[in-house]
Amino acid sequence: MAAEIITVSTDTKFVHLAWQREEKDLANVKYPMGSDPTGNLARMFGVYDEATGLALRGTFIISPESKLLNAEVNYYNMGRNIDELMRKFKANLYLAKKTDEGCPSKWKEEGDKTLKPSAKLVGRVHEALK
């Protein structure tokens, strides 16, 4: 894949190892599990909770040019939707090639309708997406 997925928590790499070895749901994990014991990276992204010393459920997509393109943060008690994450990632890949287009909310994959901002489109988004 064109992306490196890195999971990050304030646990040490030793605990990551123990958890991955113990938890059957993680048996097929291939991605690197990052360790941020100081919380510095979580602070940088605004997801470090000083009250608990834990990171909130933040997801960030960064381009190969180090540009932050998407951010989503959930509170402790809500999991993330991977389909939506993949939709955003695919849209980023598409938009990196087609820099004059925009992916509307219903865009799911290449071939779906996109928008090209122009004078003609003003007030005609409904018709353009029909």
């Binding site: 490196e4 997925i5 999971t7 928590s9 009250a51 608990t52 834990l54 960030f60 190969p64």
Partner: protein
């Protein structure tokens, strides 16, 4: 109440400064290190996926 600082999450479009993390890499069964600089060199996209703690649901 969760106490978090105002940081990059509010600044979509900014360039992220380089960072390094120690890692456990299940694919190799070994420890490693990862940096944004190295990913940039390999023209990789990066998806950071923060979660509260190991041994809880993610």
């Amino acid at each position: 109440m969760a106490e978090v600082c105002e940081c990059l999450a509010c600044h979509i479009g900014v360039t992220i400064p380089d960072f390094k993390l120690e890692t456990y890499e299940p694919a190799k069964g070994d420890f490693g290190e990862i940096s944004l600089e190295a990913l940039k060199k390999n023209k990789k996209w990066t998806i950071l996926f923060f979660y509260p703690a190991d041994f809880t649901f993610v």
